[in-house]
Structures are given as structure tokens and as C-alpha cells.
């Protein structure tokens, strides 16, 4: 289940799910918890371990997140998928 919307990301540096990140957060993907095929495809699209993302906005009523990656891409990422992307604050992991 999706965690409470708009709750701020854990600033302690411990990884948490992208789905819980607040708009404006700058984060780094530290793990992708999906099967190998989906992880590879997601990496090809531009969302992979080590990539930095900024959450631009969250759609209403538990809709997708709009994120920008450090590679220059912007993506709509469904909340259900974002739950499988572990993130940590970008500053904590170096950028």
C-alpha cells in the first residue's frame, strides 16, 4: 500500500521509498527492488541505481510522481512503481 502522501523523506539518510518523497526532494536511487528484466528496462529508460532525481510534483489522489533525473529526463512514475525504488537524500550519498 502507498505510504502516506506528502510525508517528507526521512532526512536521517536511511533509504526509504520514492513513493513517500515530498515534492521538491532531491534524492539518489540506492536500490531498485524489481525483477531483473524490469530493473534492466527501467535502467535503460533512465531510472537506475545511482541516478539522482528531483521530485517535481505528485499527482492528486495517489497518482504518479513527476520526477527529473540528473541525466536530463523527466518521467511520470506510478506510485506503485515508486514504492520499489529505494532512495536516500542526495546530499547524504554524495552527488
Amino acid at each position: 500500500m502507498v505510504a502516506e502522501a506528502e510525508s517528507p523523506i526521512d532526512t536521517s539518510g536511511a533509504p526509504s521509498s520514492l513513493a513517500t518523497a515530498a515534492a521538491g526532494s532531491r534524492l539518489r536511487i540506492v536500490a531498485v527492488r524489481l525483477e531483473a528484466g524490469a530493473t534492466d528496462w527501467l535502467a535503460a529508460v533512465g531510472l537506475h541505481e545511482g541516478e539522482e532525481v528531483v521530485v517535481l510534483r505528485r499527482a492528486a489522489l495517489g497518482g504518479p510522481l513527476h520526477v527529473r533525473t540528473s541525466s536530463g529526463g523527466e518521467f511520470a512514475v506510478a506510485r506503485e512503481l515508486a514504492e520499489h525504488l529505494e532512495v536516500a537524500p542526495a546530499s547524504e550519498t554524495g552527488s
Binding site: D40, A44, R57, A59, G63, A76, V77, A78
Partner: protein, 646 residues
């Protein structure tokens, strides 16, 4: 079918390698500008979209290289990776299959001069993302050129790419072009020529870091206010269009505006076609008189052509509207906004484009489902698309509203019309909800959709898209309608052997169609349909838009499809032998319920067969939509009776 499309198809079916002597293959991520480059090179028919996966089919054109050699150009659907696993029948799968055949060919003819070149088109404003695919293509050892497009946008944002350094770092020739400029074609073809002539090119580097390379070669060359504004344009527009409260309202408003504009613009065009067709009928009458042949040509073939032309403008104009939304980048935003709603029903924002296209015509919409990466979601979208209110349903809706509800206020009829539209959407969404829990259940990958920058659509490409839509419609749907119309004329005209007709009764009453219509009356009577309506339903089995013309023939009203008012009057005045009205408002409602749900379109069935490579799913669509249509018609008629509706 073009050679390239043939190759893609044969690839999916495990067929042979491409046969062209020299082939240029355009590849790239969705929305990289690939189709714009194709259009610049060929002046051809590929669409340009600003929506991931817009090039649904493999398109092909021909060009002459500077060396004088002729080359075929294949424009592959967008793809992110040639290494990650994807389903074969999606856009990415088609492109991957095509490239795999090329790779096989390289292996077969090691040492021989390359007879094809893969041109990877990259949007330099998202260079690091594009270079990820470059690295995979390099690892696949394909003869490669990189074409950086959107040179103009890069400049407007105050950035520049060091093309020489980029070429050195990735070990691949690089060309920087703008698809809108005339010099893009010679620059790109010269690079292709060089690559084809180079018998022993150095291997591309396959181990570079895309992000690092992008950082090295893209530089800021201006920080003026204009470039800052240009960089922030998309961001500022998104702040409004994707606002959690304002965004959805704007979205509904824009969609309503599009559909209203389509009908306002299409109406006078359809009227002009009617006039032309009337002139053609007049000419045919003068030329051939009133014989059986003249009747076949005028009432069978020409009537079918008239039906096609009557609603083609709506399809073309809606295609233009969708193209403008797509090319501008707004449709991806629409997908973002409706994703949550579609997720509840087992679909995702990626299905939004095909579902929207289904309001013009289900056939191109079924092809457009290839943008949906997940096979289960794609199949679900295909299976529910025939429920969307396509343009072909509208003539029947208009006739029924005029025949059974003319005594009601205009507001009532308008509300009923809108209700019918939304009934189709509602039925499709409910069907999707049920299918995802039954026939197509299983886990799917949730939405990941690239959000392109806002761009100005190219008018020439929009015009080509419109012409392409008209051509495809005439070919795929028009021929079916004309054939169905001719067959119908035969069934309505040829008397059923052994059936006697009362003297003075219309000839049609002893026809094959009427005899069968009578035979199934016991089944259709609970829905309020008599043999005459049954004949109309036969007539519209192949193409639902033939319903009006068929009922016109049954009631002896000429040109009912052009001028339905006299037919509507006849339907209102039709009486049973005891003098009571033959049809009432509940008959009209039952008929509408049937038309909302039943898949009366053989072209759609053929499209489903093509996309699913099986007869199982088209048979399933026919079965479930007809069963639903019949059940809904019976329910509406019977409940209407209980409630005292006339």
C-alpha cells in the same frame, strides 16, 4: 505492405532478413525527433509525435545518397534498449526484432561491406539518456551514426554540443542537425555515404559512461534572459497544466473543446460531400436509367461510399487535433493526469492515447495500443476499445434521437446524446475492470512515461498526418463499408426462394434479409426489435454506420443516410395491425443500448485479429459485446415497460 514493415512482421514471425540492397535504419528513444528526421529525409508519411512511441508502424521511404546510390530508409518505433527484455508485439519489440535481423546479417557477412547503417537519433537536450542506447548499439556491433537533432532548441536554451569531442569519446560519427532546416538532409546522407564506403571502420567504444560523456560535451554558451526563459518554459507551463487542482479541470476543458471543435468543423465538410454524392447519383440515374444495375450501383455501391464520406471528416479532424496535442507534448501530461483513474481499472496512463483515439475510429486506436509496453494491459485496451463511442455510431444515434425523441426538448436530446457518449466510456472502463480480474489478470509494470518538453508542432507534418489518416480510413474501413453495402443491397433485393409475397406489399418483404429477420423475431422481441429493425441490424453487422441506410431501404426512403428526417417520421408513424404504434421511446432506448455496446464493425474485428495474431480474441470481442448489447437492450426495453415508458 512496405518492405520495412514486411521485415518487422517477418521478424516477429521468425522470418528472413531485410532484402533491400542498402538500408538506413532510424532508431532512437521515443520522442527523440526521429520521425521529424525521417520526414526531412523522405518528405514521407511518418508522423512526428511528442509522445512516447508515436511511430506505431515501421515506415519506409527511399532517398538518393550523394554517391548516387539509392537507399531505403526504415523508421523504427521508439525503443529504450536492445538488451532489456521486452514483449515482441510492442513498439519496442518490433524495433528490437528488426535490429536483431540486421545483427544476424552482420554475423553472416563478416568482412563484407556494410549494406545498412543504423542512424540513432538523439535529442541533445537529453543527451545522457540517448547515449545509454548508443552504448548498447555499440555493444551489438551495429554500423552506427549518431544524429543529434533539435539543434534549434539547444541553441534557444543557450547550450552547445562539442560534436567532434562527442564523436571521439563514443567512437561513432556524429552529425548535428535541425529537422526543420533544408541542410539536415545533405549533412545526414553524406555521413551515411561515408559510413557505407568505409570498409574497415574503427569499432565504436562500448564502455563509455553516458552521463560523464554528456557532461564533457554539452556546454552553456549563453545565460541571457531569453535562454533562461526558454529553459524554464516547460517548467512554468507544467506548473499550471499539471497543477493538482487546476490541471484536471483544464484537461477536461481541453478534451471537451477538442471534441466540440471536431463536430463543428466536420459538419460543413460532410455537407459538401453529400452535395457531391447527390450530383454523382443524379449523373448515374441519367446514364443508366432505373434498372437493377443502376440500383445496385446507386443504392449499393454509391450509398456505401456516401456513408464513408459522411463521417470521414470527423475522423480526419480528430486525428489532426490529437496530432497537435501529441506533438505539443500535452498528451503525455494527459496520461500523467489520468493514470490514477486508469490504474483503478487495471490500465495505466499509457493506454490513454489509444482510448482517446478510439473516439474517432477503433482501427487506428487498436494499432496505437503498441505504445503500451505491458502485454496484459495492451490486450485489455484492445478488447475494450470497440466499446468507445466512435464516429460511426453517431448517424444511428442521430436517427434514433430524431425518430423517438423529437417531441422532447433539445436539452433532453442533448443530454441523452452526451449520456450515450459517456455510456461508451463507462462500459469500456467497467469491461477493463472486469477483464483485468478475469481474462487478462496478472501483474503488470506500472506507468513509467517520459515527459517530453513542450514543442511547437510542424504544420507540414500535421497535414501529412491528416492525409495519412484519410488514406488509412478509406483503405481499412471504406472498402469494408462499400463491400458490406453491396452485399446488403443484394440481400435486401433478391427474393427468398419459396417465400410468397402479398400482392401490393413492398418487394423487400420477401427478400432474403427480411425472411431471416422474421425468423429471429422470437429472440429479438424481448428487446422490442421487429423484423424491420432486425434487417437494419443485419445491415450494420459489417459496419454499424449502414444501419440508417438499411432502415431507409426497409421503409422505402431514399437517401436516408443524407437526410434522415423522412425516415425518422416513418418510424414514428409505423403502426401495428391494431393501430398502436409499432415503436415507442423504449424501443429507441433499447436500440441505443445495443448500439453503445455491440461491436458492429468487421474492420475492427480484422484489426484485433492482426494485432493479437489469433482469432480467439476477435471472436471473444464479438461474443461479449453482442451478449452485452442484447442483454442491455432487453433490460432497457423490459424495465422501460415496467416504468410505463411508451
Amino acid at each position: 505492405m512496405s518492405d520495412a514493415a514486411e521485415t518487422a512482421r517477418s521478424t516477429r514471425e521468425g522470418g528472413g532478413a531485410p532484402t533491400a540492397e542498402c538500408t538506413i535504419v532510424l532508431v532512437g528513444r521515443p520522442n527523440s525527433g526521429k520521425s521529424s528526421i525521417y520526414n526531412r529525409l523522405t518528405g514521407g508519411n511518418a508522423r512526428v509525435g511528442n509522445y512516447p512511441g508515436i511511430t506505431v508502424d515501421v515506415l519506409e521511404g527511399e532517398v538518393t545518397l550523394p554517391s548516387g546510390a539509392r537507399a531505403k530508409i526504415a523508421d523504427l518505433p521508439g525503443l529504450y534498449s536492445v538488451e532489456a527484455a521486452v514483449a515482441d508485439d510492442t513498439d519496442e519489440g518490433v524495433a528490437r526484432g528488426f535490429l536483431e535481423r540486421l545483427r544476424e546479417r552482420t554475423k553472416d557477412e563478416a568482412g563484407a561491406p556494410a549494406r545498412f547503417v543504423v542512424v540513432q537519433v538523439i535529442d541533445p537536450t537529453r543527451l545522457a539518456l540517448g547515449l545509454r542506447l548508443t552504448r548498447e548499439l555499440a555493444r551489438a556491433k551495429l554500423p552506427l551514426i549518431v544524429a543529434l537533432t533539435h539543434k534549434d532548441i539547444l541553441a534557444s536554451e543557450g547550450r552547445a554540443v562539442d560534436v567532434t569531442r562527442l564523436g571521439d569519446e563514443i567512437g561513432v560519427p556524429v552529425v548535428l542537425v535541425c529537422a526543420r532546416d533544408d541542410d539536415a538532409k545533405p549533412a545526414l546522407l553524406a555521413a551515411v555515404d561515408d559510413r557505407l564506403r568505409d570498409l574497415d571502420p574503427p569499432p565504436p567504444h562500448a564502455g563509455f559512461d553516458p552521463a560523464a560523456v554528456a557532461r564533457h560535451v554539452v556546454h552553456d554558451v549563453s545565460t541571457s534572459d531569453a535562454t533562461k526563459r526558454s529553459r524554464l518554459f516547460t517548467e512554468r507551463l507544467d506548473a499550471v497544466l499539471l497543477h493538482p487542482v487546476i490541471g484536471p479541470f483544464l484537461f477536461v476543458g481541453i478534451m471537451a473543446l477538442v471534441f466540440a471543435a471536431v463536430f463543428l468543423v466536420a459538419d460543413p465538410v460532410s455537407g459538401a460531400f453529400d452535395t457531391l454524392l447527390g450530383l454523382a447519383r443524379g449523373g448515374l440515374d441519367r446514364l443508366l436509367g432505373k434498372g437493377l444495375v443502376a440500383s445496385f450501383l446507386a443504392d449499393g455501391v454509391l450509398a456505401g461510399a456516401g456513408t464513408v464520406l459522411a463521417f470521414m471528416p470527423q475522423i480526419v479532424i480528430l486525428t489532426i487535433a490529437l496530432e497537435l496535442l501529441e506533438a505539443s507534448g500535452y498528451l503525455a501530461r494527459g496520461a500523467f493526469l489520468v493514470d490514477r483513474l486508469l490504474r483503478l481499472l487495471g490500465l495505466s496512463g499509457r493506454s490513454f492515447l489509444p482510448l482517446l483515439m478510439g473516439h474517432a475510429c477503433a482501427i487506428p486506436a487498436i494499432s496505437a495500443t503498441r505504445v503500451v509496453r505491458d502485454p496484459r494491459e495492451r490486450l485489455t485496451a484492445i478488447l475494450v476499445l470497440p466499446l468507445m463511442t466512435c464516429a460511426a455510431r453517431l448517424p444511428t444515434y442521430a436517427l434514433v434521437l430524431a425518430a423517438f425523441f423529437s417531441g422532447r426538448s433539445a436539452l433532453f436530446r442533448a443530454c441523452l446524446f452526451v449520456g450515450l457518449y459517456f455510456s461508451g466510456i463507462f462500459a469500456a472502463l467497467v469491461a477493463s475492470f472486469v477483464l483485468r480480474r478475469t481474462a487478462t489478470r496478472g501483474k503488470s509494470l506500472p506507468l513509467v512515461l517520459e515527459m517530453p518538453s513542450y514543442r511547437l508542432p510542424q504544420p507540414s507534418v500535421v497535414v501529412r498526418t491528416a492525409l495519412g489518416a484519410a488514406r488509412r480510413f478509406l483503405r481499412d474501413v471504406g472498402t469494408t463499408i462499400v463491400i458490406a453495402s453491396a452485399v446488403l443491397w443484394t440481400l435486401l433485393t433478391i427474393p427468398m426462394p419459396g417465400v410468397d409475397r402479398d400482392p401490393g406489399a413492398p418487394e423487400i418483404e420477401s427478400s432474403v434479409a427480411a425472411t431471416v429477420g422474421r425468423a429471429i423475431e422470437p429472440v429479438t422481441r424481448p428487446a422490442g426489435f421487429d423484423w424491420r429493425i432486425n434487417v437494419g441490424l443485419f445491415g450494420s453487422f459489417g459496419a454499424r454506420e449502414l444501419m440508417v441506410a438499411t432502415m431507409g431501404v426497409v421503409y422505402g426512403v431514399e437517401d436516408a443516410e443524407d437526410e434522415p428526417a423522412p425516415l425518422a417520421e416513418k418510424l414514428r408513424e409505423a403502426k401495428r395491425p391494431d393501430g398502436t404504434p409499432l415503436y415507442g421511446a423504449r424501443t429507441g432506448l433499447a436500440l441505443l443500448a445495443f448500439f453503445v455496446l455491440a461491436c458492429q464493425c468487421m474492420s475492427t474485428v480484422a484489426a484485433i485479429r492482426r494485432e493479437t495474431s489469433s482469432w480467439r480474441w476477435p471472436a471473444f470481442v464479438l461474443a461479449y459485446t453482442y451478449a452485452l448489447g442484447y442483454a442491455a437492450a432487453v433490460a432497457v426495453y423490459q424495465i422501460g415497460g415496467l416504468l410505463g415508458v411508451g
